[in-house]
Symmetry: C2
Subunit: 500 residues, 2 copies
């Protein structure tokens, strides 16, 4: 007996396959845009994706489909109820946006992402600034269309994390800012803090690093028949269908952790998608339930697993074969290279503590964008000032500053705060896993330790797809409401041990 | 003043952008299927593409769109008239096919193409045979839906070459069969015929061969901002949009001509697409007008240019650097390696003469498939028998026999005969070019000779996209009706000089 049996739900799912098919090809086209698409195709690709977004909207708002979705049916099971919950929310959002706006938004952001890539390569903020201004104007319009109670930014945040508002995130960030600052200051007082960071200046061969990444993916039980890895200007993960998930990484001439951590992070996203119940393929329930929960998976693998000495011990022998410079360092150096705290310019490579200042900075800038109080060049100045304020460093150029992330070029404003939320959530999963399986460090020492953890995540979180709302899921898995202190405690315990 | 100004045509073109967008993403998904898609995604991809085909049909048959297209408008220019001609034909075809059939067809063929790829790799015809049977059943149904006067095969042939029927191709093949057979027998009597073919057993390094292919593409004025090259099990070209055209090739351990000729052939297709008038982007006029004319471009570059000693002379120095075994051979050997006649197993690598027997064989088998007179295993036996009859050789296995081509797995029955048509057409273009620019051999000796030929093709053929119907175009460019003798004369003159 399948998960879906109500005849009306089956009818809805049958019609939904058209939408799922469009979404799948859209994801493919977006993956392609960042990986293999010839440069001059950007403008056409933007037009095409704009049209596809409008077609998708038409299918959602088709009167017959809408009626089917909005009717009440008795005796639905949780999966069938979830189908209606997700589709109703989607329809509620899409009803508010005029098709011309949807088309314009996609056209502009597709082109802007190509301009951004070049601007970042060439450290040329001026070339990107006019596109950023267009995008600010577009997201302000979007917020007006969507409507909001307190602040236009809330309208966007809700798209990424249902039910969260500007004040929710302000409270969240307010509650952690001081704790993080205190811990940072404490660490700065440690004699170990001034020590030179090992390994980060060592240069690697790209081919060898690719081999190491592949080795680590195998260790993580990578299924190459369902997942592939490519290279892009900014690492990302995308699910084209349940059996077609793709991640990317990058290769720099040195500092191999950048490439490896991106692989592990994106793999965490991919695993969430790959482990959806197969019955959810091409239904609204397929895949991760929210951006925050998604990020909790990637950050769990990147940080809780990827920085753990027991995990690093598993990859160390192969790493030594492929990266000959490791001979000059001890295993302790290797572990420290993955676990030091030091303010730096790039968010995706930040340590577990200072990472959140990168997010707070973006959150504050985005809020001002939405208020109409900041133009791109002012944002650039504010970026520099906030980096100084929070981390006491100033990016020497825009490639290491405001141009580093792809998100704004794609119009993804409201996305960044979910990164902190997800990171905090990852500590909650850790706590729940340790209750069931014992200390992560010990589990990782077992031969099938990684698989055990993956099975736990699959059973408790991944397989459900979008069945449970984020808050419901957190309670179901951890037995408690979301509580930022779990992560703060994890951080304190871990880094006080490392630094003192 | 643009090419399109009539308000109703502008309205049609505006609506058509939805269709063009779907077609573009479909092409991307098909390219991806043959290049990068993870293996297990085949079934989902088939379902998705089936849905997209049905959505496309819905847009074409939308009552408002159909009415706009089918009305008569006075005072249209040739471009506007062509828009209506193309859309009316498309609607006429799609009206006849039930959506369930379209979906089933795409689902089956997408999966079958993945099964075929594996079957070919493993020389396992039995694993592909049930899929081939399904496809035969589907195309027979398709012919019934489409309708035909003389023979069901005509219904399919018309999809690839408008206005051509089984009897047209029977007459065409009848008229050339004896001429080709006579020429082949004559060549076989030459003392040069028994000579060992140079170079074909020499092994190359894949990376070096890739460099040579890239060098040749540069020589052909390859624009890497609009065109990319990848690897696939069967070389092909696809246009995703006017500024996004992609080709593939293959790499075998030896016989470098296989890889290089595929590149030049597919480049010929790509050039036709890339040179469409930019105003045609996302309109029905974009791209090649028929399969035959398309093939006339690829075969022109592969054979008329790619086998020409003056062209081979341009690539010889670089080839010697990258393929060290060339040191053991003379330039004459190098030229002969590209210009010998010898019956062999693989169509895409066949010489200019025996190539057409490969097509005739497929044409005769497809005809029987459509009659319901042949199952896959009988077809396999017939393949072997016909190879013996026409070329006096028998494939030692199915990978070199009935499994060699991707077409049947994709349901492309009726496509093959256009390959011969296109090849014969390429000699007509050669004649027309030589009238305007002088002997191809001499033009190629000039520094900008390739560009001159490309500009001629662009002006006379490529830029027009689908503006003129194939027969119209042939007359416009050559001043004459299609005449198979032009190619036969070219072949006789060329190979009698080589062999006697």
């Amino acid at each position: 007996m399948g998960k879906f049996s109500h005849p009306k739900i089956l009818e809805i799912l049958e019609r939904y396959k058209d939408i799922a098919s469009l979404e799948s090809l859209k994801s493919l086209a977006e993956w392609d845009l960042e990986t293999y698409m010839p440069e001059n195709a950007a403008e056409e690709r933007g037009k095409i994706l704009g049209r596809i977004d409008v077609l998708t909207q038409k299918l959602f708002l088709d009167p017959q489909f809408k009626k089917l979705v909005q009717e009440e049916y008795p005796d639905l099971n949780i999966y069938e109820k979830a189908v209606l919950r997700i589709l109703r929310r989607e329809i509620k959002i899409l009803e508010k946006l005029p098709p011309e706006f949807i088309e314009e938004f996609k056209k502009t952001t597709t082109e802007a992402s190509v301009v951004w890539r070049k601007a970042k390569q060439e450290n040329n903020f001026d070339s990107f600034a006019p596109y950023l201004q267009k995008i600010i104007d577009l997201v302000r319009k979007e917020a007006d269309y969507l409507g909001f109670e307190d602040h236009p930014y809330s309208a966007l945040i809700d798209l990424y994390e249902e039910g969260w508002t500007v004040s929710d995130f302000e409270n969240f960030f307010e509650s952690i800012k001081n704790e993080l600052k205190e811990l940072l200051n404490k660490i700065k007082s440690s004699s170990k803090y001034t020590q030179k960071i090992p390994l980060e200046e060592e240069k690697y061969e790209k081919e060898k690093m690719q081999q190491l990444n592949e080795y680590v993916l195998k260790l993580l039980n990578f299924d190459e028949k369902r997942l592939r890895i490519d290279i892009s200007a900014h690492p990302f993960e995308t699910a084209i269908s349940l059996n077609d998930v793709r991640i990317t990484t990058w290769y720099h001439p040195q500092d191999f952790r950048r490439s490896l951590s991106a692989v592990i992070h994106e793999f965490g996203h991919a695993l969430y998608e790959l482990n959806s119940d197969p019955e959810f393929s091409l239904t609204p329930l397929q895949g991760g339930v929210s951006y925050g929960v998604h990020e909790s998976q990637s950050r769990f693998w990147e940080n809780i697993i990827g920085r753990n000495p027991a995990f690093l011990n598993k990859i160390y022998p192969r790493a030594k074969e492929l990266l000959p410079f490791l001979e000059k360092y001890s295993f302790d150096d290797f572990v420290f290279y993955f676990n030091f705290i030091r303010p730096d310019f790039i968010r995706v490579e930040a340590d577990e503590l200072t990472y959140h200042f990168h997010i707070i900075l973006r959150f504050e800038i985005e809020k001002k964008f939405l208020e109409g109080n900041l133009n791109p060049h002012q944002a650039r100045d504010l970026w520099q000032a906030k980096m100084k304020e929070y981390l006491e460093i100033e990016p020497p150029n825009d490639t290491l500053g405001i141009l580093q992330d792809i998100h704004w070029s794609l119009g993804y404003l409201g996305y960044f705060p979910t990164y902190s939320l997800g990171t905090f959530l990852s500590a909650i999963w850790k706590e729940a896993i340790e209750k069931d399986l014992g200390k992560i460090e010990d589990v990782l020492k077992e031969a099938d330790g990684i698989l055990k953890i993956q099975n736990w995540l699959k059973e408790k979180i991944h397989q459900h797809g979008k069945t449970y709302q984020p808050k419901e899921l957190i309670k179901l898995v951890s037995g408690k409401e979301f509580n930022p202190n779990v992560f703060i405690d994890y951080l304190k315990t871990k880094y006080e041990r490392i630094y003192f």
